[in-house]
């Protein structure tokens, strides 16, 4: 109660810190440490700077940094999505090639075998 009354007049405006934090966590979960480490680090730096600015009540600058952190997280997320998709494409290309080869090599001897007896 004491804290609440003391802090109430200086309560910071909602500049989206919570949203930016959630997006950063989402980017990490999406594989950003692997697929977009630079973008992730940018987002982390921007977010910590934003927190520092907010702590100094520089809310305008903090808001800008939050926006930048969010867009960095978003980029990290979409690059992770791209990296994963590329990996899956590579894997599947090889799988298909192997499968086709197996299927072809499996079919030919069988045809030859079919003619033998």
């Amino acid at each position: 109660m004491l804290v609440l009354t003391a802090c109430a007049p200086t309560k910071p405006p909602n500049i989206g810190l919570d949203e930016a934090t959630r997006m950063l966590a989402a980017a990490r979960d999406a594989g950003a440490p692997t697929y977009a480490p630079m973008e992730l680090r940018n987002a982390e730096d921007r977010l910590s700077q934003a927190r520092a600015r907010a702590a100094k009540h520089d809310f305008d600058e903090a808001a800008s940094l939050v926006q930048e952190a969010q867009v960095d997280s978003e980029l990290a997320m979409v690059k992770s999505r791209l990296g994963k998709a590329r990996e899956k494409v590579d894997t599947r290309v090889h799988e298909n090639a192997d499968l086709r080869q197996q299927s072809d090599s499996g079919a030919n001897p069988a045809d030859a075998q079919g003619g033998q007896p």
Binding site: S64, V78, K88, R92, G106, A107
Partner: protein, 318 residues
């Protein structure tokens, strides 16, 4: 306040240079976005992200404070990057979906080939088992045929065996008959060669019993010829004496027939003695029939003794 200071400071060349740099950033990002939009593949993808990038780049053109520009530039650059990355990701995902379809198609084709192969295998197996069935049926028929042949051969062998047995039996019988005949002939010869001279009422005599003749026949048996030697020796002991040959029968049959038979038998003996060199004029032969029995005619043994030919060396001429 800050803006005012900035404006006063940057009047002139500085302001112009700054504006030119801003224009370069804008144009660079604008060109990037245009390139993305014009890309035949990526241009159609991630339109929402590109729209946000367009907004961010547009905001860059609207100018503002230096700090604002740096922020807007940062945002615009990131938005353009996001637009690119999103389009590329969408493209990769499109490819991935295509590859998944291809993957399924390969598997489907493989399973169809597998099915086809399995059908062919099944067909081949069916044909092979049909062939095997035919083969075993053929073998079975062959077996049946050879069993029949074997049965026929067995029957034939049994027949042959029976034939051989029968032949052996008849050969055995023939052999036994021959043995019996031989024994009988031997017995006959023995009896016929065992003549003894005895003294009768008219002189010494020898008696040929009836076995020297076949039953009812007048001729001497071949076996009896051997005993002729004894008879000849007997009658030649005293060549001066006349020889009387008497034929006798048992009492069976008609007396006349018995007389005729006994006469003919006596004649047969006479002929035999003559043939052996005995002078014919010494010999008289008579048939006495059943008139002078030496034993009873009521038994076979007696009748056998009565059937005889007596050869008598007469002491005195009649």
């Amino acid at each position: 306040m800050r803006r005012l200071v900035l404006a006063t400071l940057l009047i002139g060349v500085a302001a112009g240079a700054m504006a030119a740099k801003h224009d370069l950033d804008y144009e660079r990002l604008r060109a990037n976005l245009d390139t993305l939009a014009a890309d035949p593949m990526l241009g159609r993808l991630a339109p929402a992200e590109r729209a946000l990038a367009e907004q961010a780049v547009q905001a860059l053109a609207e100018g503002g404070s230096r700090g604002e520009h740096a922020h807007r530039l940062y945002m615009a650059e990131r938005r353009v990057d996001i637009a690119y990355a999103a389009a590329q990701a969408a493209e990769q995902e499109r490819r991935l979906a295509e590859l998944d379809r291809e993957h399924d198609r390969i598997l489907l084709e493989a399973s169809q080939r597998e099915l086809q192969r399995a059908r062919m295998d099944a067909e081949r197996t069916r044909m092979e088992s049909e062939l095997r069935a035919e083969e075993s049926e053929r073998l079975r028929l062959q077996g049946e045929q050879s069993a029949q042949e074997a049965e026929a051969a067995r029957a034939e062998a049994a027949q042959t065996q029976r034939l051989l047995d029968a032949q052996a039996k008849s050969a055995e019988l023939a052999r036994k008959e021959a043995q019996l005949a031989e024994a009988a002939a031997g017995d006959l010869r023995k009896r016929l060669s065992n003549l003894r001279a005895t003294r009768g009422a008219r002189g010494m005599q020898m008696t040929l019993d009836d076995i020297a003749f076949a039953p009812g026949q007048a001729g001497l048996r071949p076996e009896a010829k051997a005993s002729l030697g004894q008879l000849v020796a007997f009658v030649n002991r005293d060549p001066a004496k006349p020889i009387r040959i008497e034929g006798h029968t048992d009492s069976r049959g008609k007396p006349e027939a018995n007389h005729v038979l006994s006469q003919r038998r006596a004649d047969a003996v006479r002929a035999a003695l003559v043939a052996a060199g005995v002078a014919a004029n010494r010999i008289t032969s008579v048939g006495l029939g059943e008139d002078e029995p030496v034993a009873g005619n009521d038994t076979e043994e007696g009748r056998a003794r009565n059937r005889r030919v007596d050869v008598i060396l007469e002491d005195q001429p009649r």
